[in-house]
């Protein structure tokens, strides 16, 4: 990412295009993460059982409907941990962008430490800030994960027995209802 940042940022300057550093930072992180993310999403879609596609096609859904309603919701749930990982890596990797003089957290810390000659205190503080940032991301993702999984338990409507069912599967009159076991 350091190389990418330098090549893109100074390369653009050679081409006569001067980027704002914040814009450059977002642009470079997007490109860098985009490649990893695309692979993660692809893996998520591939990991969805083939039977899910077949079942959706068998009830007449188009490819697009299958993707939107059946496959992607499952794929997204499956890739959430990796996506969270990627976000956290992103937050921490943003510090390498000081090579193109983006004034991010690490760059600021270096300046502050240099100005006051207090290295440990400054870096300890930014360590805590990084920790808070990454912890919040992982917490938010675990909340989303739990939300997507839905409740652990489910409500049974009516009685547990299937007395209302037209087709009984109860133990009574088992002999009579299973001629194929004779």
């Amino acid at each position: 990412m350091i190389v990418q940042a330098v090549v893109i940022y100074y390369g653009a300057q050679y081409a006569g295009f001067y980027m704002d550093t914040t814009f450059a930072a977002i642009f470079i992180i997007s490109i860098n993460t985009g490649a990893y993310m695309a692979e993660i999403v692809r893996g998520g879609i591939v990991s969805v059982d083939k039977g899910q596609f077949e079942a959706a096609h068998a009830i007449g859904m188009t490819h697009w409907q299958t993707m939107v309603n059946v496959v992607l919701p499952q794929a997204i749930r499956n890739i959430l941990p990796s996506v969270g990982n990627e976000f956290i890596v992103n937050i921490k990797d943003s510090s390498v962008l000081n090579v193109i003089s983006v004034t991010e957290l690490f760059f600021q810390a270096k300046s502050a430490a240099g100005a006051y000659y207090r290295y440990f205190e400054v870096y300890f503080i930014i360590a805590v800030i990084y920790l808070i940032l990454t912890l919040s991301v992982s917490k938010i993702l675990s909340i989303i994960e739990r939300k997507m999984d839905g409740p652990e338990n489910y409500v049974i409507h009516g009685s547990q027995s299937d007395s209302r069912a037209e087709i009984h599967v109860s133990k009574e009159n088992e002999e009579a209802s299973k001629p194929w076991q004779a």
């Binding site: 059982d49 039977g51 899910q52 077949e54 079942a55 959706a56 096609h57 068998a58 009830i59 007449g60 859904m61 188009t62 409907q65 309603n69 059946v70 919701p73 499952q74 749930r77 839905g150 489910y154 409500v155 049974i156 409507h157 009516g158 009685s159 547990q160 299937d162 209302r164 069912a165 037209e166 087709i167 009984h168 599967v169 088992e174 209802s177 299973k178 001629p179 194929w180 076991q181 004779a182």
Partner: protein
């Protein structure tokens, strides 16, 4: 009697392996046809070809006399009229039981939410799963899942349902509950095409039994003829091994 589904000279190969070698058979309205045969004889492939999950290499599949391979038939409508129940259930894991039965109706048949819900609950009640409408598939037992899968197929109000070994992944007790449901459906006059290893079910419920071996239909006829009085050596050996 006019046949609902008619298969003529159907061929399918995977690489150099010929799985189906010229299959001909027809199933009439309200008939329950059981397809039996050993593993690898092409039963499942035949069913998957009829539902176009596999593309046949040759032959014709006629649905009410129209060749569905010709490209003139609306595939979504065909799939809606011909339901399928899988060995591995294949319920949509991201949806509740109720949503599983509603989504096809809403997306494919463009039914309203209320209508789809009422219809879904009707069929879930029929298979005795209406109490579980909020459950996710992973919270259900195999037999319950398969009953929901049958309700999902029924909710589309299909004309034909294809069952691909619906009880093979279930324990003996659950087999009973699923076969109960299927027997009731057969008695109600639903056209069914069942690939099964349950000879008892075939004997009791089927109107016609088809025995397949090595990609061809060896024998077909009523259960009494085929199961009671097998003619070919192959079928005799197969039936003997089932006992």
């Amino acid at each position: 009697m006019a046949s609902v589904i008619e298969v003529k000279g159907l061929k399918k190969s995977f690489g150099s392996h010929e799985v189906l070698r010229s299959i001909d058979f027809a199933t009439g309205k309200g008939e329950c046809t059981c397809i039996i045969g050993s593993s690898g004889s092409g039963k499942s492939t035949l069913l998957r070809c009829i539902n176009l999950l596999e593309t046949p290499d040759g032959g014709e599949i006629l649905y009410h006399g129209e060749d569905i391979l010709s490209g003139n038939v609306n595939m979504a409508q065909y799939h809606a009229r011909v339901g399928m129940v899988f060995q591995q259930f294949n319920l949509f894991n991201n949806m509740s039981v109720l949503e599983n039965c509603m989504t096809g109706q809403m997306k494919v048949l463009k039914r309203g939410k209320e209508e789809a819900r009422a219809n879904a609950v009707k069929y879930l009640t029929k298979v005795g799963m209406d109490a579980y409408i909020n459950a996710k598939p992973r919270q259900l037992s195999g037999g319950q899942k398969q009953r929901v899968a049958i309700a999902r197929a029924l909710a589309m109000d299909p004309e034909v349902i294809l069952f691909d070994e619906p009880t093979s992944a279930l324990d003996p007790e659950m087999v009973g509950e699923v076969l109960n449901v299927m027997q009731t459906l057969a008695q109600e006059g639903l056209t069914m095409l069942v690939v099964t290893h349950e000879m008892g079910f075939a004997r009791a419920v089927a109107d016609e039994v088809v025995f397949m071996d090595q990609g061809v239909i060896c024998e077909q006829g009523t259960p009494a003829e085929v199961l009671g009085n097998p003619k070919s050596e192959r079928l005799k050996a197969f039936l003997a091994s089932m006992l």
